[in-house]
């Protein structure tokens, strides 16, 4: 029986860290620790002595980790990222997804790769979610603006809701702009004119 690997996830984004943790636990890893703040990181690393550290590539705090590893006199020197340098496609995938990692020297590639692959796919899933959320938010904002513009037109020009919407759409087509932009102009103009 091989001892379970101890994994540390350092990510200031708590939600993303939890998503990765969940994935690792589902895959049978039960020694997973989440850290969100740089304060106390050094102590935690010392206490836990993780075999693998997964870290967000966009955090400038990686350089702090490098300093810690340099100072530690421990034999278990962590090395950056991937055990197998020739595996360039997984390295590319990791960088693209925003993952970097430290792995204790000497660990077998077969044991580490699934962990990193898991982190990469969860990072990707998270950014997809974020993008969808941003798009949904944007759509909601647009709908609100259009509703307000319709209301203004209905009141000031005594139009029905359908007529107000048609006018906005026709104007947008004529001016080759988005309906939401036209609606925004209507709202701004109304505010300026105090109507």
């Amino acid at each position: 029986m091989i001892a379970a690997l101890s994994i540390m996830i350092f990510d200031e984004n708590r939600i993303r860290a939890s998503i990765i943790e969940e994935g690792l636990r589902e895959a049978g890893h039960n020694k997973v620790v989440l850290l969100h703040e740089i304060n106390g990181l050094a102590r935690q690393i010392e206490i836990i002595g993780p075999d693998v550290i997964v870290i967000d590539i966009e955090t400038p705090n990686r350089d702090m980790l490098e300093h810690l590893f340099q100072l530690t006199r421990s034999v278990r020197k962590p090395i950056a990222m991937f055990v197998d340098r020739s595996d360039s496609s997984s390295i590319e995938a990791a960088v693209e997804a925003g993952v970097s990692a430290y792995v204790v020297d000497g660990l077998k590639k077969e044991r580490v790769k699934p962990i990193l692959d898991m982190a990469v796919s969860r990072f990707k899933a998270f950014s997809r979610l974020q993008q969808e959320l941003a798009e949904a938010k944007g759509a909601l904002e647009e709908r609100k603006i259009i509703d307000r513009a319709k209301g203004i037109l209905m009141k000031s020009r005594s139009m029905s809701e359908d007529e107000a919407y048609s006018l906005l759409r026709q104007t947008a087509m004529n001016e080759k702009r988005k309906i939401a932009d036209i609606a925004q102009s209507v709202v701004t103009a109304a505010a300026l004119l105090g109507s």
Partner: protein
């Protein structure tokens, strides 16, 4: 003159970039948003690379560890690096010591040491610092404050650096040691990402730091720190950042590498001219590069410092030297000086073969081959450092690369042995 058709008719009308890119070689370069990336940015922005048939694509990053790894993993072809990084790599130090060499130094200068206002006020109270700014006197005053703090039962002060293998680490240690302070026992050194230094200082998380421009000036202008030493005080010709290249990339792209060195050389000359500093500051201030206000960058590039929040001024004309005095020449003796500092502070042991290995990280041969014969290029690849007029070390030491053990003795390295 370039031999690859660039689409640019010398002296004629500029042609669209799409055509200019035809037949040019794409070179992907990683950089950290710092003033000393100026030569690289100028080479891309002002046509120096294009003129050599190179399409220079600059990719901004957030950490030196990322820069090192992405160069190693072939995401970058070349990179803006700390001068000690290729040396560390050649010695197998760090968590990814993949081979890197440098044929080009991105100039000198740019660093400074800033201490918190509180700490500096205490130094002023304990020592006479009223004369001209004096880096050594400041270090000695700090020593007194540290002594007093020990008697008061206070913990060691914490100082920020940027990376374990950085000029900042070695320069800060050099300054402390010159003032009689043991950097390993009497202070605590931590890594703080440069853009966070003034926040960390004002929050009291650190008591001072050594970083590159413009962050020292930013801390002073925010009223949280005082500049107590600049790089010129510690060692004027100390190399700061370099261009790192993988040996295998160099082998496969000999011609491109050579053209790139030429482009960087022209860009360096341009950056160095005082008349161009305004335009340079404007380019650097862009959101995709440094994203720092133009006024601060312009003053930094002119070496005009406000050194404390009371408005004390200091002008360091050579705070940035991008080209003069062979500032781009990768002296083997300077790589070996870096190695001597690594030995001095216990990062590695001394051995003559390691000294040779360290020296091989700097490649003056590539620089010479690319530039050709020119009067400003040194005839030797190595020299005794700190001996020439105007190039003294803060403590007056002389570094002879032929006698590193003797040098280490002279700076009292054995006194700090653990």
């Amino acid at each position: 003159m370039s031999f690859i058709p660039t689409g640019i008719d010398e002296g004629g009308l500029a042609v669209p970039a799409v055509i200019a890119n035809k037949g040019s070689r794409l070179v992907r370069a990683g950089f950290i948003p710092l003033v000393d990336a100026a030569i690289l940015i100028a080479a891309a922005e002002f046509g120096f690379a294009a003129r050599e048939g190179i399409q220079l694509s600059l990719i901004r990053d957030v950490s030196w560890a990322n820069i090192r790894d992405r160069l190693a993993f072939r995401q970058f072809d070349i990179a803006h690096m700390l001068a000690p990084m290729p040396v560390a790599a050649s010695l197998g130090l760090g968590s990814n010591p993949s081979p890197v060499v440098t044929p080009f130094v991105l100039g000198r200068g740019g660093n400074a040491i800033t201490l918190s206002l509180g700490l500096f006020r205490r130094m002023q109270a304990m020592a006479d610092l009223s004369g001209k700014p004096n880096a050594l006197a400041n270090a000695q005053a700090l020593k007194r404050v540290i002594k007093a703090r020990i008697e008061e039962g206070l913990g060691p002060i914490t100082l920020g650096i940027t990376y374990p293998f950085s000029s900042h680490n070695y320069e800060l240690r050099y300054w402390l040691a010159a003032g009689g302070i043991d950097p390993d026992l009497e202070v605590k050194l931590v890594v703080v990402p440069p853009p966070m230094t003034s926040d960390a200082l004002s929050a009291g998380a650190i008591d001072g730091f050594c970083v590159g421009a413009p962050w020292n000036m930013v801390a002073v202008s925010r009223g949280v720190g005082c500049i107590v030493a600049v790089k010129e005080d510690i060692w004027p010709s100390s190399p700061e950042k370099v261009i790192g290249m993988r040996p295998d990339w160099l082998e496969q792209n000999t011609e491109t590498a050579s053209r790139l060195i030429v482009a960087l050389d022209r860009a360096a000359l341009w950056c160095d001219q005082a008349d161009n500093r305004r335009e340079l500051a404007l380019a650097l201030s862009a959101p995709n590069y440094l994203d720092v206000p133009f006024e601060i960058l312009h003053r930094v590039l002119l070496g005009q410092f406000t050194i404390d929040p009371d408005g004390a001024e200091r002008t360091v004309p050579d705070y940035f030297n991008f080209h003069r005095d062979a500032a781009n020449f990768p002296w083997i003796s300077q790589a070996q000086w870096i190695y001597s500092q690594m030995v001095r502070w216990g990062q590695i042991e001394y051995c003559s073969s390691l000294a040779e290995q360290a020296g091989a990280a700097f490649r003056p041969d590539l620089y010479r081959n690319a530039i050709g014969k020119r009067v400003d290029i040194p005839t030797n690849d190595t020299r005794v450092e700190g001996r020439d007029d105007g190039d003294a070390f803060l403590d007056g030491a002389i570094f002879d690369p032929a006698n590193i053990p003797g040098y280490l003795n002279s700076v009292g390295a054995s006194a700090f042995e653990k």
